[in-house]
Subunit: 347 residues, 2 copies
Amino acid sequence: MKRKLLFWGMPAALLAFIVSSCASTEALVIKEQGAFSAGGAVISTEGNFDPHIPFFQPQGGQTRHGDHADVFYQIPVNAKPYSMVFLHGAGQSRRTWQTTPDGREGFQNIFLKKGYSVYLVDQPRRGDAGQSTVSAAIDATPDDQVWFTQFRIGPWPDFYEGVQFPRDEKSLDQFFRQMTPNTGDFDEDIISSGIAAVFDKAGPGILFTHSEGGGPGWQTAIKNENVKAVIALEPAGFPLPHEENSENPQNISMDDFVKLTKIPIIIYFGDNIPANETDIFAQNFWRMVLNAAKEWAETVNRYGGDVTLVHLPEISITGNTHFIMSDLNNQVVAEHIAYWLDEKGLK
Amino acid sequence: MKRKLLFWGMPAALLAFIVSSCASTEALVIKEQGAFSAGGAVISTEGNFDPHIPFFQPQGGQTRHGDHADVFYQIPVNAKPYSMVFLHGAGQSRRTWQTTPDGREGFQNIFLKKGYSVYLVDQPRRGDAGQSTVSAAIDATPDDQVWFTQFRIGPWPDFYEGVQFPRDEKSLDQFFRQMTPNTGDFDEDIISSGIAAVFDKAGPGILFTHSEGGGPGWQTAIKNENVKAVIALEPAGFPLPHEENSENPQNISMDDFVKLTKIPIIIYFGDNIPANETDIFAQNFWRMVLNAAKEWAETVNRYGGDVTLVHLPEISITGNTHFIMSDLNNQVVAEHIAYWLDEKGLK
């Protein structure tokens, strides 16, 4: 308000000069940006280390720091009080949120421009957080077409009609190159501890998860009270208390489950998940996940929770793939999220 | 000049208001930022892909896109005409340039604030560029102390006297966690092709290399004319023409060598590289590299080149480790680089 009044009293030409002197409305004005590692473990070997010995001769008495999350963060000027922490899905890295296959702005820039601080994570044992406390084997067998199909761009080599994915070769090339392998076994407990440590630094904030990141995302919300809301894009797992389901591999205690009833949660699913079985495995797979999500939302809400499930085609937002945050209509989805955050007092 | 004159005519209070309305001089004003993959290869398998089959059943007729570089870039408003591309060393990622172990600003922020566009690379088969066309095994044997010693922080567990490295435990923890493994064999040709492809996008610019990145750095300058200068921090390899040295494994043709005589090059080495042999392997190793660098600089200059070799202690900048860009005095070194760039007309 104060600034508005000041501007009001100025001649138009001077005002124009000020605006052009400052960042344009399109520019990002970053107060602080940097990188850090969060959480992690240390393993060590017996023996005494001798610094005289050449680096290529194996010797004991050493440590290995690994299993941390890797974070790049940006804090805009006049940042909102809530940070946003972004956790990618299977085979992906923070790239998921940085851009889109056709080079438009990703959720990183979109929410920075809305005034949120952003914390972009590579989860433990992935990408720049590659240092692991366990050894690993990486297999380079070609599987791009499997993921194209499983991520519901289309049943390769076809695209779904009206799909919100660019059809040019360059975009598809960029999309395939987003994949990056695990450098140690996927471990939900290790990952959620890493992301919880990110929230120690980020402070009170909103956790975005995608796909396989959904599971560790719920665990992060249980582990750190700084998680004030979860926005889950097609999460692939849903933890229930033993009392509700004794067979769910994601089972948790009632005490932990109750924590998930204390924060607002919104879950998004995209298009091409038909209500009935088809002959394409990927569609049936996601229908089962969507049904599990519906059941989970009902259960959490029955315990006093606040879960909203949005199946995008039901609100006339159509054509979305599994990568809702980088689809051609990602700005539309971002506005829906912004509206929900406003409604929940997290603006 | 125009802006200065406009400011000159304004009352001091209004000027103060404008400055506070704009980004502070400490803030970064980013016109554009994003991420992309550059270069890379595609491998494929025989057969026909059937999209009806579940993702977990192996099948042929597929591709794998890998061996690209992963890039995060930022272009400030009123950017200088030359971009800066940053290539890390062995076991490292772009983190090398993003920050310092004690959380101060890295070369990314320092040179952004000087008005350069920055392109931060994870080289092919490392970090977020983890997708490789070859399989790999990652060994998690503890070796932190080897690298502490080899990177000349000190002969573990000691620090060198006056070393420009923070001595608190938290900083050392962050430093160790910067390491991230190869996800495929190190391949100088693949890496330099990836970085050359980054220069296709970045345009005319300055290449920073560190350590193991030195080798692919020279190759990048040979492969892409957009490389207008190279700033090499303790590079570990030096290519010579066959005519000069028939035994150097980095041998190149005279045609390629001559390309390195056409651009200004500056090479930095840090402290604790004694002129005479000591009982610490790491010190002797770097003395040999420094001597090779001196010889190389003389050879390139004899062919009409413009190589400057700076052994920092000789100009009274002391205590530097192998990580010159993130040492406690990294701002001092950055100013030295800025002065050199100015001298070479690359400001």
